[in-house]
């Protein structure tokens, strides 16, 4: 049986790991390569690196980091942040990234999803969606959640699936940084509406939150950062608990 995935997310700024709380107030949490290797050894199923301060100038630094991670880590990883062209993706994949995650650039130019899926295959195209629930309706936000749009979450998710996305990484802006649980209602709707895997992001605080997002949220994978980086939830303990609750995990 295909197992549910536990995915630590490493936010990267200038080649270092940071964690945003509600996307501001950054705290340094270590060297990405060391952390990545440690997570692979501790039982993480895959990793996400998010370059939160990606610019054209520091692109080389990120590629360098991707290369170092690929050299040392024996589990799959995704790279996201500031990716807007086929050429850039080509470089990231050639450095050893398994998947790339695109967000704002897909909203600005949805054809990018088609282009990436056609050139590299859907399996390496993750579309990240940051959304906020406003008066009961979920709206897509851009640029790390700072710019609201009038695009509705569920419409956008279906569109990117049709365009060839292989996976969706959904972050609820309402839940991110709160440690009060994932946006399971929206996640369950995404998982039912769509036929590609959904990664839950935003709100992890306790082991029970992971149980809930796999059971109620029907998520295929759950992503978190600070609860893992600061050792609040050890991955092995988390997986043991999930298994006890009859959730299929790699352990």
């Amino acid at each position: 049986m295909l197992t549910k995935r536990i995915v630590p997310c490493l936010d990267i700024k200038n080649g270092r790991t940071v964690k945003g709380v509600n996307f501001v107030n950054l705290i340094d949490a270590g060297d990405p390569v060391v952390l990545a290797k440690q997570y692979a050894d501790l039982g993480a199923d895959e990793l996400v690196f998010l370059d939160i301060a990606a610019t054209l100038e520091n692109r080389g630094t990120t590629l360098d980091m991707v290369l170092k991670v690929a050299e040392q880590v024996n589990i799959p990883f995704t790279v996201g942040g500031g990716i807007s062209s086929v050429e850039h993706v080509d470089k990231l994949l050639k450095c050893g990234a398994d998947k790339v995650s695109i967000n704002s650039s897909a909203v600005k130019r949805p054809e990018l999803v088609n282009e990436l899926a056609e050139k590299f295959g859907s399996q390496c195209v993750v579309v990240a969606i940051d959304a906020k629930q406003i008066d009961g309706e979920w709206f897509v936000h851009l640029a790390g959640g700072t710019i609201p749009t009038d695009i509705k979450l569920f419409d956008w998710a279906q569109e990117v699936e049709q365009r060839g996305a292989g996976e969706i990484l959904f972050t609820s802006m309402n839940h991110d940084g709160t440690k009060a649980g994932f946006a399971n209602e929206a996640l369950a709707k995404l998982s039912t509406d769509l036929n590609i895997p959904i990664i839950a992001s935003g709100g992890a605080g306790t082991i029970q939150h992971f149980v809930d997002t796999f059971k109620e949220g029907k998520s295929d994978a759950a992503l978190a950062a600070s609860v893992f980086h600061f050792g609040e939830i050890p991955i092995l303990e988390l997986k043991k608990e999930l298994k006890k609750k009859n959730i299929s995990v790699r352990i």
């Binding site: 295909l2 995935r5 050893g96």
Partner: protein, 193 residues
């Protein structure tokens, strides 16, 4: 040990090269027919779309070469699928090494299958030291049907062949290079064949 990873423009081969580097082997990337012929072991990778990958193989003459190789050859993911008779993906013919067809998962399950699943019914030296129901990392929308040449089985929608072997040809649907310590053991076993 001369290990060649066939570089025909399909997919992420860097991670395979790095995985062997972690095992102390410097693999050469090449599409040169003589270099491939002279290798002790050959890796046939592949990520992407089957019919366009097949086209690239035909353009470089590798479609004729690969089935004639005598040394151990390991096809990974799309590489394994291309070693089969045919694929529903782009309705393409394959290299016909494995006598099985490649089909698409139905909409009854999420496609692609993405993540860690178990392999069982292990029947090959390739899996020496690997326990039944070990976890492997898989990313795929198409699968080889269960068949006589299956050396490992996985369940997703149905029971399918997640690894194949015929003579010196081996194929894994999963990515040993991304499957942690157990995956590295499979690569080691391949080197020791």
């Amino acid at each position: 040990m001369k290990l060649v990873i066939i570089d025909y423009g399909a997919g992420n081969i860097k991670s395979i090269q790095f995985a062997f580097k972690r095992l102390g082997i410097d693999a050469v990337l090449s599409n040169n027919i003589d270099k491939i012929k002279a290798a002790d072991k050959v890796i046939f990778p592949g990520v992407g779309e089957a019919s366009s990958a097949m086209k690239m193989l035909i353009e470089s003459g590798l479609d004729k070469l690969i089935p004639t190789l005598k040394q151990p050859v390991l096809g990974i993911c799309l590489g394994m699928q291309l070693m089969c008779n045919s694929s529903e993906e782009g309705k393409t013919k394959g290299l016909g090494i494995f006598n099985v067809d490649v089909k698409k998962f139905s909409k009854a399950v999420k496609v692609p299958q993405m993540g860690w699943n178990v392999i069982y019914n292990l029947e090959s030296q390739l899996f020496s030291g690997i326990k039944e129901r070990e976890f492997m990392y898989l990313v795929h929308s198409f699968y080889a049907e269960s068949c006589a040449e299956a050396i490992a089985t996985t369940d997703y929608e149905i029971e399918y062949a997640s690894a194949l072997q015929k003579d010196n040809f081996y194929g894994t649907q999963f990515h040993p290079e991304k499957s942690g310590v157990a995956g590295e053991q499979i690569l080691k076993n391949f080197l020791n064949l």
